[in-house]
């Protein structure tokens, strides 16, 4: 069994033939996610020869490397040494993060599962909009699809299980909710999460100079707007639907 004992973390484990995974917790917490974001930045700063790429997942950092250049033992030593330099659960978030305010329609035909989610959370639709619209969430990790963020954490009232049946298709910019998190979809896709809001955000454009809108650690708030206002915003700003970002001062 995987150890759920907090004392066992951080864990350094092998991932396949040429990967190493440093995990800060067996479950998602604000601190384990912050540690992962900070540690990834620190691994990148080491600029070890033989490291091919790094990635921060919800509570871990993955390092892919070339074992003929950087043998397993040497990378493991370097990672353990870096782990020992500080208590990563207390580390500050990396610099260069931004706060995004994203106009969002909750419910209506544009996001038809709000009522269902509100019901599951034991709220009225109006209460659900107040709660979700006021939450300031962090990009916990980017994954599954290009530039697509997992956002959290929402309060325990939003710790709703995924649906047993898939929602066949949600559009680009769909805000979906489950397990105290949001996902904001970068492409149309089926999902087991509930479609509670709709935004005009484009998260990924392959041809653009900056193809990916978000960075891990960015913060977002999905501010309620009416459907007519939302449609107007999308018309004026087809790329972002009125979303705006500002730097977060370190």
């Amino acid at each position: 069994m995987e150890s759920q004992d907090a004392a066992a973390y951080p864990l350094v484990r092998r991932a396949g033939l040429s990967g190493m995974l440093v995990s800060f917790g067996g479950s998602l917490s604000e601190a384990s996610n912050r540690a992962a974001l900070a540690f990834r930045t620190a691994v990148e700063a080491l600029a070890l020869e033989g490291v091919v790429e790094t990635m921060a997942s919800l509570a871990s950092v993955f390092v892919r490397f070339e074992p003929s250049v950087l043998p397993h033992g040497r990378l493991e030593d370097a990672l353990r040494e870096l782990l020992a330099t500080q208590d990563w659960l207390q580390a500050p978030l990396p610099a260069g993060r931004r706060f995004w305010r994203v106009p969002t329609v909750y419910g209506t035909d544009l996001a038809p599962q709000l009522a269902e989610a509100a019901d599951a959370a034991g709220m009225s639709e109006a209460q659900a909009i107040d709660s979700l619209g006021a939450a300031r969430v962090r990009v916990l990790t980017i994954g599954f699809a290009p530039g697509q963020p997992y956002l959290g954490s929402l309060g325990p009232e939003w710790n709703l299980p995924r649906q047993t049946e898939l929602t066949p298709m949600v559009p680009r910019g769909a805000l979906v909710q489950a397990i105290s998190q949001f996902v904001l979809f970068s492409n149309p896709a089926p999902t087991g999460w509930r479609h509670v809001g709709q935004t005009g955000m484009t998260l990924f454009r392959a041809e653009a100079e900056q193809p990916f809108a978000l960075r891990p650690g960015d913060e977002m708030q999905f501010e309620p707007v009416s459907k007519p206002d939302f449609l107007k915003l999308c018309e004026d700003d087809p790329l972002r639907g009125g979303a705006a970002a500002q730097e977060i001062q370190a």
């Binding site: 033939l17 919800l58 891990p216």
Partner: protein
């Protein structure tokens, strides 16, 4: 610019190279050719860089017309190929003149055939690569009417042939433990390696289903694990304990537990297994895995030296006797057709 115009094409054809490493943190898996060995073979046959793009053809080929003089190579799953009606050797390079037509039929074994051009297929790179990545919405499948432009090559060599490694009928897949292997009890891991699998009907560039008789391969606490990074080669167990081997175009993260990771050098065997092909897994240590993978990479580097001049079909050679005298190597036992695949 020379190249090939697509007149007809199967539904699962796309331009592929070695993909886009470095974007994992942005949700884009590396992607690239399902059978990277075939990419290297094509490059060796055309005396060019294995990073150049080729057309990957899933299950069946198509019909192509040369826009100008162009060199081609055919690798991967053997398919019947003909140039203006005359059969062409597979695992070989050839020349086409402007207006000549190349037709490529269905795979006779394996899944993915590859059509390479001298100079590579020079479509516009996107995020640093030409590989179409369906899952990420990068590029699209090849369509009739498309031009596959040929890049400018250094070499002008063609008429070479290569012995391809047999990888089209399933076989043994070597697997190392990964960070979730311990979620599976030792008895389940042992049973996994003792089980005869066959390739299931669900397979694409993202992953391949493995089916077997008997119970599934469940992890302890299967539903409760945190979504974590996915590597190509990971063997993921779905809710009912059914294994999927994930390929290079897999998602970047996932919440299903993974019992281990198939070696990169065995992934072409997974991708090329036809539905029903028999497959088995064998656990090996990390050290063995590194050694096997290093040896494979060495054989890739040796491919250019392993190419030989393509011996023409002796039926088309008028004076077989003089031909034998020249080659000096044809004996009564030798099969001159054994090296290339003929239609």
């Amino acid at each position: 610019m020379s190249g090939l115009k697509i007149l007809r094409i199967g539904p699962a054809a796309s331009v592929q190279d070695l993909g886009r490493p470095g974007l994992l943190g942005q949700g884009v898996s590396q992607g690239g050719a399902a059978d990277t060995l075939a990419l290297a073979e094509g490059a060796a046959l055309l005396r060019q860089d294995p990073g150049l793009a080729a057309l990957e053809m899933g299950g069946m080929g198509g019909e192509f017309e040369a826009a100008g003089p162009v060199r081609i190579a055919l690798t991967g799953a053997p398919m019947a190929a003909a140039l203006d009606g005359e059969a062409l050797a597979w695992n070989a390079s050839h020349r086409m003149e402007a207006g000549q037509r190349l037709s490529i039929g269905a795979a006779r074994g394996g899944v993915y055939g590859y059509l390479h051009l001298g100079g590579g297929i020079a479509t516009e790179p996107l995020l640093g690569a030409r590989a179409v990545h369906m899952m990420a919405g990068l590029g699209r499948a090849a369509e009739a009417g498309d031009l596959l432009p040929a890049g400018t090559g250094q070499s002008n060599e063609a008429g070479l042939v290569l012995d391809a490694e047999e990888r089209f009928k399933g076989g043994e897949l070597r697997i190392v433990e990964s960070f979730q292997s311990h979620l599976f009890p030792a008895a389940v891991r042992a049973r996994f390696a003792a089980t005869a699998f066959s390739r299931g009907s669900r397979a694409n560039r993202m992953g391949v289903e493995m089916v077997s008789d008997g119970e599934g391969f469940a992890a302890e606490g299967q539903l409760n694990i945190l979504s974590e990074v996915i590597l190509p080669g990971d063997v993921q167990m779905t809710g009912d304990g059914k294994p999927f081997v994930l390929l290079r175009e897999c998602q970047t993260t996932g919440g299903y537990p993974r019992i281990g990771t198939v070696l990169p050098c065995d992934l072409p065997r997974v991708a090329q297994a036809q539905a029903g092909a028999a497959l088995r897994f064998r656990w090996i240590s990390l050290e063995e895995g590194l050694e096997i993978q290093a040896k494979f990479e060495k054989t890739l580097k040796a491919l250019p030296a392993a190419c030989r001049p393509l011996v023409r079909d002796p039926a088309a050679v008028r004076d077989l006797l003089s031909y034998q005298l020249i080659s000096g190597a044809v004996s009564a036992e030798a099969d001159p057709f054994a090296k290339g695949e003929y239609a």
